[in-house]
Symmetry: C2
Subunit: 144 residues, 2 copies
């Protein structure tokens, strides 16, 4: 009846595989105490932290970025309104940018691909921000 839960329990309650939880711990995204046996005991609050991680992933953040965000939050004290609003406004901007891109793509689908011309030049496919904005793999621009 105390507030520590096993990794199995955590996995069931969060929907995140135990192997992923170990991986997150290794990456420093979550933390656990250990029972005498060496088994992990997670504080119940880890569920909230995992929710945060899952949420951020769906938005499109990498685990590295999520780690940064988690680090920015105050270690022990409960994050306050100011903490959240700073973070959520940054995320909202990101979400909005991605939505805008998707809408632009959707429109191009009708205007350019729909007519068979596939003239991406007019469509301004050039991507803003988002994951692919960095110097990673994948096409970066289209300037025929």
């Amino acid at each position: 009846m105390d507030s520590l839960i096993t990794i199995g329990e955590t996995a069931r309650r969060s929907g995140v595989a135990a192997s992923a939880l170990r991986f997150y711990e290794e990456r420093g995204l979550i933390a656990s105490e250990r029972a005498g046996s060496g088994h992990r005991r997670f504080p119940r609050s880890v569920l909230r932290r995992i929710a945060f991680i899952v949420f951020a992933q769906r938005i499109g953040l990498t685990l590295d970025e999520i780690g940064d965000e988690l680090a920015k939050l105050p270690g022990d004290r409960m994050p306050n309104q100011r903490d959240w609003s700073r973070l959520s406004s940054a995320w909202r901007t990101r979400i909005d940018a991605r939505i805008a891109e998707l809408e632009r793509l959707r429109d191009s689908l009708t205007e350019c691909i729909g007519c068979g011309c596939l003239s991406i030049r007019r469509c301004r496919l050039a991507n803003p921000d988002d994951r692919a904005g960095r110097a990673g793999p994948g096409p970066r621009y289209w300037l025929d």
Copy 2:
């Protein structure tokens, strides 16, 4: 002045690296003829095909899926209105679903995370469709 271009030219005009073009050819997404030297000569039409690939990637399709889509298009004849509209309506559905999810996430950002409760249960984070809907890695649902 004929309609065949080198891989370098293709890379410059499409913004896609030559190595990626070779990779796409290996995967069967694009095709080339060969000069006597063994060097690739792409028909100019490959640019349109590459635009298609880049476009589809931004929407979130994998190369496998893109290959399927390309295969569904008529091999030689110019794709007609019917071909495009079938395809584009499927893509539009996908885009719309992803936009809807992002909007849902954005709202949760205000309603749930914004208040500090992070009570994802109320937020209905459960993801519809999109990449992560398949049995791949990554968290699948949240049912605290």
